[in-house]
Amino acid sequence: MKRLKINVDRPKIKTEDIVSKQDFGKVLNGYNKMKTPIFKKPWFYGVIGVATVAVLLTVNSKTTEENDTKITSTEIIQLPEDTKCIHAPVANLDVDFTTISIDPSKDQTIKLPSGTTILVPEGSLMTESNTEVKLKIREFESKSTSFIAGIPMDYKNDAFESAGMIEVRGFEKEKEITISKTKPVQVKMVLTKNPENFLFWKLNEETKEWGSYPSNFNTSPLTNSPSKDLKSVKNKLVAEINKNEVTLSVIDQKSKNNTEPDRIQHNLPIKGSQRFDLEFDTKEFPELSKFKGMEFEVASKTEYDKSFTKKVWSSIDLEKETANYYAIFSSKKEKFKIEVRPVLSGSKKETAEIEFQKLVNDFHSKKNQLNEEAKIAQSKKTALQSDYNQFLKEIAKNRSITTTNNQESKNVSIANFVISEFGVYNCDKPINYPAPFKEEVHFSFSKNNPTDIVSVFIFDELKDARFTFGINSNHNISQLGVNEKSENTLLAVDRNGKLGYVRHFNSSKIRNSEIVLAYLDKKDENLSFIQKLINENTIEN
């Protein structure tokens, strides 16, 4: 079968001809159209909402439990930047940092929603002004969050099964700071698993390798019960929802007020209407003096005999009844009366047309702007509603924790370690990569239509690990393999960042060396959907 068209000795295009077609302006325009403003991205509101809950939980639990320390302020930052070592694999999707402003001249204890505590001793942070420092913190409690954040999870030829991971960064006026070697920061990280057989590691971001790191494990009662302060969070969310509703109704009202300019109101002729000259006495109709010498247009709202313009009339008179004008055509045989209105013509019309066109353009641009604002507010409404629902679930969860605490303290495993460098710390167990498939496989989004995949991730439920192949991994895609006995989900990213997946993945899904991917819709590129895909489903718990 002929697949290729082959041209031999096709005439070459000269460099000058190619250069003459260069049009950087077109590229810039195309780029500007392609670029989605941050505020229009659906993740924006979702992340803001979720992060708001997280931060408020932090502050509230802090103020109630740690009276001797004070967190000066908190803020949410935008998507974290990729670093040399940490690359978020899905465009526009990342795990946000919670940013906490602290006073480095005092001992500070930060308590995170997970129960993890960070003690920053006075003088521990090497600052210039010693006034305000921002700590940016994020915890990765699941395969999905470490995946989304792009944390490398390979150790030599193995993958990591994680029992808890935290990333801590420190900044003073946007400049990265360091920690004193003699006064390190102390971390008590709540683990998600029993750490037996697990080790502790720090990510070397220069070599992109994990190195063993000293720590000790113990168990401790979970004291984090922030339910008392959830009320204020709820109030804030409700206030946000209400505020957005007001925004929506204002936009709606503005849309109603933004009416399309009417040619009739601007004394401009309507296309296709019959017009004729009509002499009249300005003394009788002084209000029409500005139309003197101008035209009249038929304004009848009902059907009429259009042939009147072809007939011969002995006189044409203008009459006014209430606010309407009528032209009365008379001849010996008949009389014809029709409603008319004066319209501008000549240079007056030209000037009025320009002004009118400007009004029409203003109307359309305002209409488009209001539509955009409405879209944003609608998407914010959906996101806020979803955050609110999630929040209600959190409350339910926290209530159950509180109840349990009242009866019996819940013990959790803790990793205790000190840090004199900011970075990523992880409680992990190395797991062998599965043996590669015997045949090299290729990927497609539809059968027999190969696509260029750059990264493949296998989420192994049994091993609770993510195996990475391709970019930022020690394993090539040609080394792809799977634990046949486990429940696996395969996620793949192509050169354009397009995501595909295969659920319940094992070798039976390979047909003729091909793995056919289901396309992950853009709207599903979010933490919640990825959690569902890999059976974490924490939100539904």
Binding site: L4, I6, N7, V8, Q22, F24, V27, M34, K84, G497
Partner: protein, 193 residues
């Protein structure tokens, strides 16, 4: 075999290029020098794989728009920026094939057929040249691309590796394998005759 020197850059040029990119990351209008520098290379790469000139120009523009859009993700890995552009171009070209906006075309010169005939140790007579063209059609796309890059575009293995995101040695091995396959198909066709 002579190799196209366009791709290789001195350290100074690479540094200058990095400066351009760093500026463009802050302000996309500074992407102009990069566009000027690579427009022709990328166009030729695309046009090599397509039959239609206008479509090739359109896809070239699309490549630069996408590059600008993803520039914040670009990270210098010691190779010219063009290798990143080539990867985007490759992806855009295949997307055009999938969307049926363009037809996969291989453009070559008669002289290239001599090179290939030589590589597969066959006489470069008219009959064999015609047979090679038919054999190319029997190869998988990946193999055609390797032969195309090496023999029709005269790219070095280093450059091929960087464009295909594989090691230089791997590019070499894969190209030899592709040639082997071509040789095999050629032999089978001769047997049948």
């Amino acid at each position: 075999m002579s190799i196209n020197p366009l791709y290789h850059k001195s350290t100074n040029r690479l540094e200058e290029e990095l400066e351009w990119i760093s500026r463009a990351k802050k302000d996309p209008s500074h992407f102009g020098p990069v566009y000027k520098e690579y427009h022709e290379q990328i166009f030729r790469y695309i046009y090599q794989r397509l039959g239609d000139e206008e479509t090739a120009f359109d896809i070239t523009s699309q490549v630069f728009m996408k590059a600008l859009n993803s520039l914040h993700k670009y990270e210098y890995k010691g190779v010219p920026f063009s290798s990143w552009l080539y990867r985007i171009a490759k992806s855009e070209v295949y997307q055009a094939f999938r969307d049926k906006k363009a037809e996969r075309t291989v453009n070559l010169e008669t002289i290239h057929l001599f090179d290939i005939a030589e590589e597969i140790e066959e006489d470069s007579n008219e009959k064999n040249k015609a047979a090679i063209l038919k054999c190319l059609n029997s190869l998988k796309e990946g193999d055609v691309e390797l032969i195309e890059m090496r023999f029709f575009e005269k790219r070095s293995y280093k450059e091929m590796g960087e464009i295909l995101d594989i090691k230089e040695n791997n590019a070499k091995v894969k190209t030899f394998r592709a040639l082997d396959k071509l040789k095999q198909v050629f032999a089978n066709k001769q047997d049948r005759v």
